[in-house]
């Protein structure tokens, strides 16, 4: 019964939070956004006291149910382990192994140091919620969008506007590689030994493990009934039941309830601590976990060489004939000194110190503006670029979804007055000067009227006009950069600001 409750609630949580990452329309976040907000790390980084207290109490009461129900990465591993179990056709796939304490605490210490030092990339690499977001955004969302596009294809033929096509685009090669590596590593670990990641690497697992040692309800072995057959240990994916000594390592038990029904003697039960049965304390032994971790590094290197963006060559048109389309020339990203982060982030510091790099904002950005950073310090944290779109005035999606307080909620009105950067003009690329054509597309599309067109020759009002930027008014939305006709580099681009301000 307990196991069924766990299975059902885990399935629901997992499905819903996955939907949150898959949805590109931004419409379900109003309903399911809380699922991201109750994740441990985002709650800590957002200083969401209510959620933190709730999670602590939950663990003190019932053990690490968080790991079995709320954490999507935990449930994903259960899924992988289940597949592994089926494939191996083994009824008793697991066995007890002692905790690898030096690794657990070592990783946790590293993790805490990384948070304090603001090394977002390391935090994102280790944190379970970030890892799941990475996998969902990079590996699952393309499939989801592919399905949507198939529906859109049929809708178009049926003259329906219910589905619209969305583009799948490669946001960041390193992040994709890390997502694949994370997935493969987890798959191998879960396939072989269930919850190895959760009990040796996951810093959240280690923290909750501290608490779950003292949980009120826990799995307990009745030594009077136990005949030492070891069935419970052979079914424990956390490898935390030492049947010989009748001991359970509560810091590693994820309260999955799998063992309860396996015991033919009825000797193992989930019950409050005051119904204490005779148990002995666990003791630590020697460990080894050697060859599995070599995988990720090699994967990184092979994948990097395989991925390369394609450059389209352009054709020349000799004589004016009717029809045909000018080939689209590729736009290359501008070289920014300071990265751009979305309105609501307040400052780059706020972004880097709160962001879990879960990719939720990247998933939901409808304008192809947000993408994971490739910078080593902020690896996988979002940053903006305007080659494919710009930060549109009616959209505040990223600020609505961020669970960690890295992008705080903002209204469209506040956004239109928040300066996240300022436009810079590059004379050498500007079309009125290079092609001799009158343009002004930047001026026409500037939402704050920060751009004016002035004669290019100071004393000649009839000379062709060029844009000038009033940086005081510019909010850095990138409409000018995105819609500039110059290629491959825009003649106007947005330079990021360290701290955002109201203009």
């Amino acid at each position: 019964m307990l196991r069924k409750i766990r299975l059902i609630s885990a399935t629901i949580c997992f499905t819903l939070i996955t939907l949150l990452f898959l949805d590109f329309t931004g419409s379900i976040h109003a309903w399911l956004g809380w699922l991201a907000k109750i994740q441990f790390l985002p709650a800590v980084l957002a200083l969401n006291i209510g959620v933190i207290i709730f999670l602590i109490l939950l663990t003190l009461l019932f053990g690490r149910t968080y790991c079995s129900v709320i954490c999507p990465l935990g449930v994903l591993q259960d899924l992988m382990a289940w597949v592994g179990k089926k494939a191996k056709k083994s009824k008793l796939p697991y066995s007890y192994s002692p905790a690898i304490s030096w690794l657990r605490y070592g990783v946790l210490a590293l993790f805490i140091l990384a948070i304090i030092a603001g090394i977002g990339s390391l935090v994102a690499l280790l944190a379970p919620y970030s890892a799941y977001g990475r996998i969902a955004n990079n590996l699952l969302q393309p499939i989801w969008i592919g399905g949507n596009n198939l529906l859109a294809y049929f809708a178009e033929r049926a003259d329906s506007y219910a589905f619209y096509e969305t583009e799948v685009w490669l946001k960041s090669v390193p992040t994709l590689i890390l997502a694949v590596a994370t997935f493969v590593l987890l798959f191998v670990l879960a396939w072989k030994n269930g919850r190895t990641y959760c009990n040796t690497i996951c810093p959240v697992g280690t923290i909750l493990g501290f608490l779950s040692r003292f949980s009120l309800y826990r799995v307990q072995i009745d030594t009077d009934k136990c005949n030492g057959c070891g069935l419970c240990a052979r079914n424990c994916k956390a490898a935390c039941i030492n049947s010989k000594e009748h001991a359970v390592d509560y810091s590693r038990c994820v309260a999955c309830m799998d063992c309860l029904n396996k015991c033919k003697q009825g000797a193992i039960n989930y019950m409050p601590i005051w119904n204490k049965t005779k148990t002995t304390s666990p003791h630590n032994g020697e460990t080894n976990l050697s060859r599995r971790r070599a995988l990720s590094a090699t994967l990184l290197i092979t994948m990097a060489s395989a991925m390369k963006a394609q450059n389209r060559k352009t054709e020349e048109v000799v004589m004016k004939k009717d029809g045909g389309l000018e080939p689209i020339k590729e736009r290359k990203p501008s070289n920014r000194q300071t990265p751009l982060v979305p309105p609501g982030a307040q400052s780059i510091k706020n972004m880097t110190s709160h962001c879990t790099a879960c990719q939720l904002c990247v998933s939901v950005c409808p304008n192809q503006v947000l993408r994971p950073s490739g910078d080593l310090m902020t690896l996988m944290q979002p940053e903006m670029s305007y080659e494919l779109g710009y930060c549109r005035p009616e959209c505040t999606k990223c600020s609505e979804v961020c669970p960690a307080g890295a992008i705080l909620p903002i209204t469209t009105a506040d956004k239109s007055a928040t300066q996240i950067g300022h436009a810079v003009w590059i004379k050498d690329y500007c079309v009125p000067l290079t092609d001799g054509q009158k343009c002004g597309n930047c001026e026409r599309h500037c939402p704050t009227k920060a751009i004016q067109m002035v004669p290019s020759v100071a004393n000649d009002p009839k000379s062709i006009k060029i844009p000038v930027i009033n940086t005081e008014r510019c909010i850095g939305c990138g409409a000018c950069e995105n819609l500039c006709p110059a290629r491959p580099f825009s003649a106007i681009y947005v330079e990021g600001h360290e701290r955002h301000r109201i203009v």
């Binding site: 096509e165 029809g323 045909g324 009616e394 092609d435």
Partner: protein, 462 residues
Amino acid sequence: MENKTNHLDRRDFLKIVGITAATSTASLYGCAPKAEKAIPEATALGPIPTDKMTYRINPTTKDKVSLLGYGCMRWPTVPAPDGKGEMIDQDAVNKLVDYAIAHGVNYFDTSPVYVQGWSEESTGIALKRHPREKFYIATKLSNFSPATWSREESIKMYKNSFKKLQVDYIDYLLLHGVGMGNGMKAFNERFVDNGILDFLLKEREAGRIRNLGWSFHGDVKVFDEVLNMEVQWDFVQIQLNYIDWQHASGRNVNAEYLYGELAKRNVPAVIMEPLLGGRLSNVPDHVVARLKQQRPESSVASWAFRFAGSPEHVLTVLSGMTYMEHLQDNIRTYSPLEPLTEEEKQFLYDTASLIKEYPTIPCNDCKYCMPCPYAIDIPAILLHYNKCVNAGNIPESSQDENYKKARQAFLVGYDRSVPKLRQANHCIGCNQCSPHCPQRINIPRELQRIDKFVEQLKQGTL
């Protein structure tokens, strides 16, 4: 009976099925005309006649010209095998030409600039497969760009047409787009100052041009002046349809006047844009209902063709038929032509004012404006806008009853019809396109208006 069927064994059953199938297919094929077995024909109205086409006689050369002329400006294209752009679907062109000739069409109108410059060659390939006396070929001196104004360049373009079309004489040669550009100045620069007109008159005497004429767009002063020149014009090509008859848009001239001037002088008129690039077949629903009520079995387009073909000085009516169904429908309309009655004419004039109430942009998808140097797909944007106008999907304010639906249809349809990087917000207003537009559309202004509308829909500020 039941007993018998029960006793049929499998082999007998298959035999019977096989025989029935064979006989029924044989009899079906037997009915169809021999040449085009593979092409399905509308059977509800009976087969499409092969020998009932209406012909008009050219007063000077006595050519017997089919009332339906084939416009070679809209040949079907397919994506090019190298993935860059597209190319003409020659098999489809051959099939269309064969079908047209088999059903009595004998006038083919092309130009060196049509379909990215491929039309003449493709038309030539398709026609080469038929006896030369079976068809009349019309092509143009399309020396629009100043680079081709010199005598040498213009003659080179003219000679190249013979090569591309694989012919040694041209039945109908046109000075292309008289009236476009800068009034009589442009005409003189293109045809008079460089001596090209004299050259072409000599070519006519030599028999390499059988009929010399011109196509007209735009400035009426140029029309009058060129028509009154000391030159015998064998024909003139004008835009005529039931909207342009009295309600010509922009700077177009009412066809009633143009046709009247030609008729006075007994100059045959070749008609272009009888259907306004499809705008007269793709009309709002209530206009469809209105036309269908009169003649439920005739297509909406057939009204426009009957209108264009009814005046007796019309030599031929050009239609750029990309699809077999359009070709078949038009052949049916003119095999034979049923001239409009006076009541029907009045009915169409009234219909014209109904259509004019819908603020569509007068784009006929001729693609003269293309390619845009900044990669915008101009006709696709304008056509999408027109489609939404006709479907009632251009909301005037967010308070409109169907606002949500119309907004979704406009925006989703926009992304489907035009790739994002070819949409109106990329128009920089350089205005290189507008001078090429025979309908005199101020293209940048329309694109920027549509862009503003899109912004209002997206931002919800309508």
